[in-house]
């Protein structure tokens, strides 16, 4: 079995685990994830609480399952915003006049000077911290990656002979964009979506850790970590579970992106 498939399989399994946890949390969790129970606070792992309870007596497994939902929600919206805005911008930049392409690329560079985290802190300062501001900020910060990729992908497609034939046959620009360009760059965009998802998961975790993401009492892995840090001297293992969840989710989306890239990027297939 080649390395290509290993990335795809391991990434797929890890991402599948996160998705399954999130879906499962809608129908079942061992306990109510926001139920505070002072009687069982900071309980060690046991048959009743598989990974123990936190400082408020909430069940860690239940919080991790619901936290997966938060992570995926933020990721889907942020990457969705970035893909829906960034792809047409990139395609337009490639198909439109040269000055437009130049303008888009310079604007891209400028937006890149505002990393997701900084943008989210700015949004939090002005509009108040929330899941929504975090999602929008991460989304905006990710638009340049999609725009850049869509632009370079479109330029490659536009140089092919079948697009030349389509032009000669009198197809409109819109028809060429929707029937030839988009289907051909979809694979590349899927790769970018997976990699961006990993970045969104990281950014959400960091923001929640700083208190700029998901608000209490909604469980989120980043805030679980922040709460666990207060108890690092007494129960350091509490920080382990959300930390592991974040790292495995990021690893999963990164590997999935690598696996998909090997599948969709024809330049790489020849090397293997």
């Amino acid at each position: 079995m080649s390395r290509v498939n290993v990335s795809l399989v391991v990434g797929g399994v890890l991402v599948g685990l996160v998705v399954a946890s999130a879906l499962l949390s809608f129908v079942w969790t061992p306990y109510d994830a926001v139920q505070v129970d002072p009687a069982t606070r900071i309980a060690p792992p046991s048959a009743a609480h598989w990974l123990g309870t936190d400082t408020f007596g909430r069940d860690v497994v239940s919080m991790l399952l619901v936290g997966a939902r938060t992570t995926l929600f933020v990721g889907v919206v942020a990457v969705g915003v970035a893909a829906v805005a960034g792809t047409p911008i990139g395609v337009l930049a490639a198909m439109g006049p040269q000055w437009l392409g130049e303008l888009v690329m310079r604007t891209n560079d400028l937006v890149l000077a505002f990393p997701a985290l900084l943008l989210a802190v700015m949004f939090g300062a002005v509009f108040g911290p929330s899941t929504l501001t975090a999602m929008v900020a991460i989304g905006i910060a990710t638009i340049p990656s999609f725009a850049r990729l869509a632009r370079s992908g479109t330029m490659q497609v536009l140089a092919t002979e079948y697009v030349l034939a389509a032009r000669a046959a009198g197809r409109t620009r819109t028809a060429i964009a929707t029937r030839h360009v988009l289907p051909n760059i979809a694979g590349l965009l899927l790769v970018q979506a997976s990699v961006s998802f990993a970045i969104a998961v990281l950014a959400e975790a960091a923001l929640s850790f700083l208190g700029f993401g998901t608000r209490p009492p909604t469980p989120s892995w980043g805030r679980m970590l922040q709460e666990a840090q207060q108890l690092i001297y007494s129960t350091p293992e509490l920080a382990l579970w959300p930390g592991l969840a974040i790292a495995l989710a990021v690893l999963g989306f990164n590997l999935l992106g690598d696996g998909l890239r090997d599948r969709f990027d024809p330049r790489l297939v020849d090397h293997r």
């Binding site: 850790f209 840090q229 495995l248």
Partner: protein, 315 residues
């Protein structure tokens, strides 16, 4: 090359101006009247007007922007609407702390990435090469604040070798400074090192496939000498680009790591500013961070031009 540099400098200056307008518009225009925020909803119109005059926010926005932006090169960021403290000196003090953190993180990243990346490329068909690649993949997935918490758990809580946080200026106590810097620098640097390792590996792998390296070896150089004499310089070009981009990532990563290790840097100042709704302070820190990212990107571009012989001879 001169033309290329001139063009890049123009783009850089325009970016600086547009970025400062964007930050000013976002932080000053959107949140509403700072005088009302400071005085609360029950304040009289006269009191609000007096506070506006005191803050200078009764002037046209263009004048306010010009006033703010012209102070930046002199390190003048205005006075806080909340604490009335001069913002400039606070930012300068904190920037120094964050610079220590970022540079030490970068040193750790380079120490990790250069040998590992080169080894992974040279041995890419062997198990040890695959192991390094796998480890770097895992390292990329661990954000620096999680790495920080793990390092604290092991080296501060379990082993008790190093302090779990805090900050001492180097001039005051160099030993304590280094002890407190060690874990945050490792937290930032190990993660960035993992990312960098992948780029070093792929850059060296690309160079290993080049014809000029085959020529060098055909001329009788050993594979190691050929790589050192001809390969690494060429592999350095993409690595320098990534290094610059990483410097920006490190700067933002430091914001979170400072929180983990209770370090009084720019990140802590930013977050405290947000918590106190001190928007002028937040605006100041944000513009410093954004300018730093733009300056680094510009310098990388210049370095790229100087390093790449094709660009150096052109124009």
């Amino acid at each position: 090359m001169v033309l290329h540099l001139l063009r890049r400098t123009t783009v850089f200056v325009v970016s600086l101006v547009v970025a400062s307008v964007a930050v000013f518009a976002f932080m000053t225009v959107l949140p509403g009247d700072p005088a009302r925020v400071a005085l609360g909803v029950n304040a009289t119109e006269e009191a609000v007007a007096a506070t506006r005059a005191e803050f200078g926010t009764d002037r046209p926005l263009v004048v306010q922007y010009a006033d703010w932006v012209s102070g930046l090169p002199r390190g003048e960021f205005g006075r806080s609407y909340v604490t009335d403290a001069d913002i400039g000196p606070q930012i300068v003090d904190r920037l120094l702390v964050t610079t220590w953190l970022v540079l030490s993180g970068m040193v750790v990243a380079l120490i990790v990435a250069l040998p590992l990346g080169i080894a992974a490329a040279v041995r890419h068909r062997t198990p040890s090469g695959a192991l390094i690649s796998g480890l770097s993949q895992v390292g990329v997935a661990v954000p620096s604040f999680i790495a920080g918490i793990l390092l604290v758990t092991v080296f501060a809580v379990r082993l008790g070798w190093l302090p779990s946080g805090g900050w001492t200026p180097p001039a005051q106590d160099p030993v304590q400074f280094l002890r407190q810097l060690a874990l945050p620098a490792l937290a930032l640097g190990l993660v960035q090192g993992a990312v960098l390792t992948r780029y070093v590996r792929s850059a060296v792998l690309d160079v290993l496939r080049e014809d000029f390296l085959r020529t060098a070896r055909a001329k009788g150089l050993t594979p190691t000498r050929a790589l050192v004499r001809h390969g690494l310089r060429n592999a350095a070009i993409p690595v320098v680009t990534v290094l610059g981009l990483q410097l920006a990532t490190l700067l933002i990563g430091a914001v979170v790591v400072e929180r983990v290790f209770v370090i009084p840097g720019l990140g802590s100042l930013l977050l405290d500013g947000v918590a106190n709704r001190d928007l002028l302070l937040v605006q100041g820190v944000v513009i410093v961070l954004v300018l730093a990212v733009l300056v680094v990107n510009f310098l990388v571009d210049v370095a790229y031009t100087v390093l790449d012989p094709r660009l150096r001879r052109a124009g």
